[in-house]
């Protein structure tokens, strides 16, 4: 699986890291030798900052894909626990099993009772195996739907964190109706009588991502991606060559700035320079701020108006001529 190839080393960071290494060496040498290199160090640090600004300032779709998949990136539970008080995780779909690749529960967000749901990647290999790298089975989506219907009943808004390479492609997925499970979420979310805020925090991979993505407001983190298929999958399918993934990521225009330009998402949440993993706490705070302000706005809207606006929002997506 391509998910196993998650890289902790980001290629585009190499020049910055190399320069930083040089600065560190110089500093060490200065200390040991007692010679004053402060002017040179300051100069190099200035150069490093400029380099960082220019590299991070114009990341390609593919580079952002790498950041979106970074193992150090905050996961759904990091976000939830970092922004919520009294969070209680709730388990199971009441039909078959509890899928660890998709988590959910209830908690308080800035005083608002909410239901929080999201794809859950692991922080190490062992956890990743248990959580299938955040790729849910049908029971995961059915758990999500159960929690959403519960939220509707108790008049809690729903917050969804999207971060998956896609729904898990296995035998059991087909046996238990992956297509139906995703489809059911789409149709039910479209008509759910409670506000829904979605945030694509990392990978927004295909139908497995969209199954948590039919919301009133949809945001993407700056280095998140959202696409019809992974760039590797797309390249294998269309160009018979998965190694063309970087080129495919550009063709799909799948990183947040492009997706926002297309009008698919309502806003892009800035990340710390270099990516969310550089400062998870700051990232979580920004995400929280965006969610809370969206919720406060949405909770003012009468529910029938809200659902109709959600309908129109998705109804407007797509491009065609004539007709």
């Amino acid at each position: 699986m391509e998910v196993a190839a998650v890289a902790n080393d980001l290629m585009h960071e190499k020049p910055i890291l190399e320069l930083q290494k040089k600065i560190d060496e110089l500093r060490k040498f200065s200390k040991e030798s007692g010679l004053d290199f402060s002017e040179e160090i300051a100069k190099l640090e200035g150069k490093a900052k400029m380099l960082a600004d220019s590299i991070y300032g114009e990341l390609s779709n593919w580079q952002r894909t790498q950041i979106a998949r970074h193992a150090g990136r905050p996961t759904t539970l990091d976000y939830i626990k970092g922004m919520c008080s009294d969070f209680l995780e709730l388990h199971g779909d009441r039909q078959f099993a509890d899928d660890l690749a998709l988590v959910g529960g209830i908690g308080k967000l800035d005083g608002i009772n909410v239901t929080l749901i999201g794809h859950q990647k692991g922080s190490d290999t062992k956890e990743n195996i248990a959580r299938r790298w955040g790729m849910p089975l049908p029971e995961g989506y059915r758990k999500a739907l159960r929690l959403m219907k519960q939220a509707e009943k108790f008049k809690r808004p729903v917050v969804c964190f999207i971060d998956t390479a896609g729904a898990y492609p296995g035998i059991e997925s087909e046996e238990r109706g992956m297509g139906e499970a995703i489809a059911r979420n789409l149709i039910e979310m479209a008509a759910l009588k409670t506000p829904i805020v979605c945030v694509v925090t990392g990978e927004g991979g295909s139908g497995g991502a969209l199954a948590l993505g039919v919301g009133d407001r949809i945001y993407m983190l700056e280095n998140a991606v959202y696409g019809v298929i992974s760039p590797e999958g797309g390249a294998a399918l269309l160009w018979k060559d998965a190694s063309q993934a970087p080129r495919m990521a550009e063709a799909f225009k799948m990183a947040a700035p492009n997706v926002y330009e297309f009008g698919i998402v309502d806003g892009v949440i800035n990340e710390p320079l270099g990516g969310a993993h550089k400062d998870p706490a700051a990232t979580i705070a920004s995400v929280k701020g965006q969610i809370v302000s969206a919720l406060r706005e949405l909770m003012e809207i009468p529910l029938d108006v809200l659902v109709e606006q959600r309908y129109q929002k998705f109804n407007n997506m797509g491009h065609y001529a004539n007709g």
Partner: protein, 301 residues
């Protein structure tokens, strides 16, 4: 000539009989042989499953099912409409809606032109209204011969509008699905058609309108993960391939070979995902009965 016909129409609805449709596409009443058959053109067809050679005339009588093994030959959208609706009038919706290239994706429009030239169709779905057993219905038929039946903006929009028409007119919706899934070349826009079509079905359902999904060979990916599995009644043709993930992807993931019947209509029936597997020769009658059992299926008053 074909171009002129479509370009003349500026109104949203085209009024066509199914025979008109066939003629305008240069299709005689005589169905043409399958393109990959090495026999005198148009005379005989070879079954992909059992190899049986059948006279095309004979095949027409069996509605393109193999007389020996009951293999269901793929149909294009026009053929399906002819077989399903009552003789006479078919009113097509949005016949002039055409594809654009929102991502500026390499070679996309060239490929569209190629597909159009190859099939004589404009896109991978035809929608409209007609009657089945006298009951008015809104019908959508996907066409796997065009761009693998993939769903981009036009397919999503046409299906959504068809459902919206059904809501306005209080008609039931019948969709024959056949698709390789979301169309890669329109990227995120294709993905969003899954949400858009499903949202329209939510509205239809809220009004009590009947929706019958008929999964035909092949129904996969984003279409399976949206409207093909959302029927009040989920039907399929025998042997139809129906699945979410591709066989190759699953085999790569689990590193083992999959059984032959994996992702067939019969497999889905066994696992509780379908109400019925219906032989093509009995489809019209079954649909008529189902419509009758739902009082026409329009919902509301």
């Amino acid at each position: 000539m074909l171009k002129d016909i479509f370009h003349k129409k500026k109104q949203r609805y085209a009024t066509l009989t199914s025979q008109d449709v066939a003629e305008r596409l240069g299709r005689t009443r005589q169905p043409q042989a399958m393109p990959d058959v090495a026999v005198p053109e148009g005379l005989m067809s070879k079954c992909k499953r059992c190899g049986e050679m059948t006279f095309t005339k004979e095949l027409e009588k069996t509605l393109k099912t193999c007389p020996r093994c009951n293999y269901h030959y793929p149909l294009d959208a026009r053929e399906r409409i002819e077989l399903t609706l009552d003789e006479g009038r078919f009113f097509e919706y949005d016949a002039d809606m055409t594809t654009v290239d929102p991502l500026n994706f390499p070679d996309y429009l060239t490929k569209i032109e190629r597909e159009q030239a190859k099939t004589g169709s404009k896109e991978a779905v035809i929608t409209g209204e007609g009657t089945i057993g006298g009951y008015p219905v809104v019908i959508g038929v996907m066409d796997s011969t065009y761009f693998m039946g993939s769903m981009g903006s036009v397919v999503g929009e046409k299906i959504t509008r068809a459902i919206e028409n059904a809501i306005a007119k209080k008609y039931p919706v019948i969709l024959f699905t056949a698709s390789g899934g979301a169309r890669m070349q329109e990227g995120i826009f294709s993905l969003m058609q899954m949400a858009k079509t499903s949202a329209a079905l939510a509205k239809l359902s809220a009004q009590g309108g009947l929706y019958i999904a008929i999964n035909t060979y092949p129904t996969t990916g984003g279409v399976t993960a949206s409207f093909s599995m959302l029927g009040d009644l989920n039907l399929a043709e025998p042997g139809a391939l129906i699945g979410f993930a591709g066989r190759r992807i699953i085999e790569q993931t689990i590193r083992q070979k999959l059984p032959d019947d994996f992702q067939t209509a019969e497999f889905l029936l066994k696992h509780g995902m379908l109400d019925m597997v219906v032989d093509r020769k009995e489809m019209r009658e079954t649909l008529t009965t189902l419509l009758d059992l739902h009082g026409g299926g329009g919902g509301g008053e």
